[in-house]
């Protein structure tokens, strides 16, 4: 099964109900804030708001919707920390825009494609986050390849499972 679309194939665009649009990102934020209390390494490798951003952006296949989704989720993620608000916002906006743009060309139902896309966008998010945190906010952060790659892989694996779960909330336009 090809994972890219030809010009003759119709791109499927999905919508989500309002409760899902609001509830899923909120739930992701809540779980992201709560689970590290029980599993301290969770926040080191996993980023549920990022996964939700990628999923919604790819499913909607609209760059504008994708970037707004990323911006809102990222800003909400920033609010829970004590660092300046906007670091995750900018990173997730870039991811949302990229994921939705790529979603137009990729078969987002394919597990392999989802794994690769999530891994790639996880690395991009880390890079943008590092650049903003280091360059703009002047935070003392360090770039660690093993950490970034491990985190990307962890997110990609979790993402594949999570996306299949979230597929159930999709509504055809």
């Amino acid at each position: 099964m090809p994972i890219t679309y030809t010009s003759n194939e119709q791109v499927e665009v999905y919508r989500f109900s309002i409760p899902v649009t609001i509830g899923v990102p909120l739930l992701a934020l809540f779980v992201q804030a709560f689970l590290p209390l029980r599993f301290p390494r969770f926040a080191v490798y996993f980023d549920l708001p990022l996964l939700v951003t990628i999923f919604f952006a790819m499913a909607r296949r609209s760059p504008v919707a994708g970037l707004f989704t990323g911006a809102v989720i990222g800003l909400a993620q920033d609010m829970l920390g004590h660092n300046p608000i906007g670091i995750y916002g900018i990173a997730n906006t870039v991811v949302g825009y990229g994921a939705s743009s790529l979603g137009v060309k990729l078969d987002v139902e394919n597990a392999g494609a989802r794994l690769l896309v999530t891994l790639g966008f996880s690395l991009i998010q880390s890079a943008v986050h590092f650049t903003v945190a280091r360059g703009m906010v002047n935070m003392n952060v360090t770039w660690s390849w093993p950490h970034v790659i491990l985190g990307g892989l962890a997110n990609a694996i979790l993402g594949v499972a999570l996306f299949f779960l979230l597929d159930k909330f999709k509504q055809r336009t």
Binding site: I18, L37, A43, M79, L80, G81, H82, N83, G86
Partner: protein, 422 residues
């Protein structure tokens, strides 16, 4: 939904534009309410307000379920544990007497030096209900806030050691910056070498002690305490232990610290809401004695009829401490006939009850012990009462159930005879 959006398209766009403007304002506007929340961005307050109630509910449900199970159903081994804890309390009470003696001596010395010390006078227990969810922002949320008197920059700790400080205060929630965050800083001192430094977090969540010169010797395993220099944490709270020492940059050592409190698994914390600074005052003469505690555990003997206290009778020639002997009261019974001896040199026996015998080798009654045995400086001395270690004449026996004072009583009058300074 589509028809609704289509019908009210203009309204939706209006709401969207207004929302964005409000969002933009919320990012810029800072709360100008109370003094403790004036630097908080409105959007952050909203974010916290939206997330923390769910966390609070979940933690509450989790705790309630756990409490019901553990308090009403799962009681296996509780009886044995209770017995074990009682024994432990007995041992700790003996230990407390010894420590109070040490503390009393320290206070006397502090009095001489006009030393001002800080006391933790009030703490508020709080439940950890959330975190930032990011490894770049090491903060936690607790379920207590401005409503119970929590303010910004208050120290947060557990019984094991310090945790962090209050960063932001909301009405019923507070944000706590952990000591492992790279923007935190705590004044710290090494317990034995007395070297001072600044405790900081690193980007990967480790805790390091900075500003210790590289020509200093810092042993691995040494305890680190708060120095009090940051004006947030009182002096002497446990911080952690030195786990690794290496050479850093700029002539300073790179000292890694293992925090005493488990920062990655915090459940309950204490917020230090009130601390007092007061002049150290010396211990008064009314002290709980190890002998009293020992005597409490022994079968009692009826009090003998009062006899005239003859200070001279208690005087023992050749005593190591004549001043003590002069003030001895009622040296009756076996004690009166005991030959002078020195203090118990072993200083090792701390098990209560195991050596609860009188000077003559028989079990000593409560009253007899009270009259004979002085307050020894250590439990070992208390377990082997000796005639020469007599109490000052003005020292009254305390009720057996009284405990050692945790704070110095206001009477600075030292006992006439210091039975056994350390």
């Amino acid at each position: 939904m589509e028809s609704v959006l289509g019908r009210y398209r203009n309204l939706v766009i209006l709401v969207g534009v207004l929302f964005l403007q409000v969002l933009g304002l919320a990012i810029q506007v800072k709360r100008s309410g109370g003094s403790d929340v004036q630097d908080t961005r409105l959007i952050r307050i909203w974010g916290v307000g939206a997330i923390t109630p769910f966390e609070r509910i979940l933690v509450w449900a989790q705790n309630s379920t756990g409490n019901v199970w553990h308090n009403y159903f799962y009681l296996r081994g509780v009886r044995a544990e209770n017995r074990q804890l009682k024994e432990q309390i007995e041992q700790m009470r003996i230990e407390q007497v010894r420590l109070s003696e040490d503390a009393a001596q320290a206070r006397r010395l502090q009095t001489l030096l006009a030393f001002k010390e800080q006391f933790i006078s009030r703490t508020v227990a709080a439940q950890v209900i959330g975190s930032s969810g990011s490894d770049l922002s090491r903060i936690i949320y607790i379920d207590k806030g401005e409503n119970v008197g929590i303010k910004r920059d208050m120290a947060v700790m557990t019984s094991d050691g310090i945790v962090g400080k209050v960063l932001l205060v909301f009405p019923s929630v507070s944000q706590v910056l952990l000591v492992s965050d790279q923007s935190s800083g705590v004044g710290a001192i090494l317990e034995k070498t007395r070297l001072q430094g600044v405790l900081r977090g690193t980007a990967n969540g480790e805790v390091v002690l900075e500003r210790v010169m590289s020509d200093e010797q810092v042993p691995v395993g040494e305890t680190v305490l708060t120095s009090g220099g940051d004006q947030i944490f009182p002096k002497g709270l446990p911080v952690g232990t030195v786990s690794k020492v290496g050479y850093g940059k700029d002539l300073f050592l790179n000292i890694k610290i293992k925090p005493a409190a488990n920062l990655s698994k915090l459940e309950e914390v204490l917020v230090l809401v009130e601390k007092q600074e007061r002049q150290a005052i010396a211990e008064d003469s009314t002290r709980v004695r190890a002998a009293d505690i020992l005597a409490q555990r022994l079968p009692s003997v009826p009090d003998k009829p009062a006899t005239d206290a003859n200070p001279a009778a208690g005087t023992v020639e050749g005593s190591a401490k004549p001043a003590v002997a002069k003030t001895a009261a009622k040296p009756t019974g076996a004690a009166a006939t005991t030959t002078p001896s020195t203090k118990n040199p072993s200083g090792t026996s701390t098990v209560p009850g195991s050596s609860g015998v009188g000077p003559a080798g028989k079990p000593a009654g409560t009253s007899a012990l009270k009259k004979i045995v002085s307050a020894p400086a250590n439990p070992a001395a208390g377990s082997k009462p000796d005639a020469t270690q007599t109490a000052p004449a003005n020292e009254q026996p305390k009720p057996a159930d009284s405990t050692a004072p945790t704070a110095p009583p206001p009477n600075p009058q030292p006992p006439a005879t210091e039975s056994s300074p350390q």
